[in-house]
Amino acid sequence: MTPFTYARANDAGDALRLGAMQGAKYLGGGTNLVDLMRETIERPVMLVDITGLPHGIEERPDGGLMIGAAARNTAVAAHRAVRRHYPVLARAISSGASAQIRNMATVGGNLLQRTRCAYFYDDEGSRCNKREPGQGCDALQGFNRDHAILGASSNCVATHPSDMCVALAALGAIVHLRSAEGERSMPLTDLHRLPEDHPELDTLLAPGELITAIELPPLAFAARSTYRKVRDRASYAFALVSVAGALDLDDAGAIRDVRLALGGVAHKPWRAWKAEAALRGQQATFENFRAAAEEELAGAQALRDNGFKIELAKRTIAAVLGELKEMP
């Protein structure tokens, strides 16, 4: 690790003041940042520890939830209102990392995880535009089994590693931000970027801007929601493909509303807007599930090793919708 100074922020104002320093970085649970610092991929000159900032999970009068950005992943998955009203979120968090890491990791930090692309990590032997802009991308012609099939560019084919964010994308979560200029908020689906010509930028956060809270809007039919993660081993592995889904059926078995998001397939948590639009008003049949999945993946592009993800994503979407349809 390169040398740095450490300071603990007592409140958001404190954090913003310290975080304004050139080369400063906010420190949450450290499960990703400390690792990247040890590899000298991240070289902050100052760490601002923000784990003392608000971490409460507040039930709102409208039925939604406001989650302090410093809340630990475990605390969110275990919260009674999350388990009851947003099971997809509890399931997504529980499928990520290990129990130890979930105890450490904060919600805000989970949003800001860097990719797990092996070429991004290999700073001594590989070229990576995300690590060194303009350098080139060795994943394009390399071992790219884990890489993106949607929304990638010729500069970067990395995927976003979070499970939690896939559920948040499906739920329409709102990210609350604070900077010296004031407060703003945006849908989680707008926070992360596609790589385009600037894969070094994962999100639209301004320098020094702080994530203060994640808001889950009320979504009654999210009680019928789930998360399915397909991976190379049964536990403690990143997703090849994952699907977060919620389904609202009317009495005649038609789809009143639906939410779908994909993980493991793109540079950002991928809200399946096209599939959702194709499904609304349709009968909840396997054929319609499959057709919607085909539509979402129509623009998918395979690299040398990851073509299987296209069919896997379609099947996983159909399987999740089938499971949701059968839920009591």
Binding site: Y6, D35, A77, P87, S98, A99, N103
Partner: protein
């Protein structure tokens, strides 16, 4: 500016780069927690921070100021080994022993999570009260601790007999 390590206050290191794992091993000579992968993939460095299991390799020692760390060295009492330590012996829960301190600290943390109703990836009913430590639950909840010898059957049976929700555990 101290951390409580197994009940004793210790001054935090001057250099913020020192991980909790390096602090334990190289500064305090508590060699129980192991440096396996040093990148959060193996669980050999697992310790309890305020009674919750965490990875000491990805924790900076300075982050633990004012908090309480329990390592495997802090589990035994005057009366003898912690029941889970004893169970690891009785159930052949190790071969080389390298992962054992992490496994034991992790399982003690897991027992607390079960008590608090923290769900896992394999928990079927998310809203039911009480989670049974089934075979699948135990293995899923312990998946963050690898054993390269493959002593998993002994590890699982030691934990199953000691850390189920109905088994009273002695305080760490």
């Amino acid at each position: 500016m101290t951390i409580s390590i197994n009940g004793s206050p210790v001054a935090i290191p001057d250099d913020p780069r020192v991980s909790l794992l390096e602090f334990l091993r190289e500064h305090l000579h508590l060699f129980g927690a192991k440096k396996g992968c040093n990148q959060g993939a193996c669980g050999a460095c697992t310790v309890l921070l305020d009674d919750e299991r965490i990875l000491s390799c990805l924790t900076l020692a300075v982050q633990c100021e004012g908090r309480s760390v329990t390592t495997v060295e802090g589990l035994a009492s005057q009366e003898g080994l912690h029941p889970l330590q004893q169970a690891f012996i009785e159930h052949d829960g190790f071969q080389c022993g390298y992962c054992t301190p992490g496994q034991i600290c992790s399982a003690i943390g897991m027992a607390g999570e079960l008590k608090r109703g923290v769900p896992s990836h394999v928990t079927r009913d998310l809203v039911a009260d009480g989670i049974e430590l089934s075979h699948d639950e135990l293995r899923e909840r312990m998946s963050g601790n690898l054993c390269r010898c493959g002593a998993y059957n002994g590890i699982a049976s030691a934990i199953a007999t000691t850390c189920g929700p109905d088994v009273e555990r002695s305080p760490a």
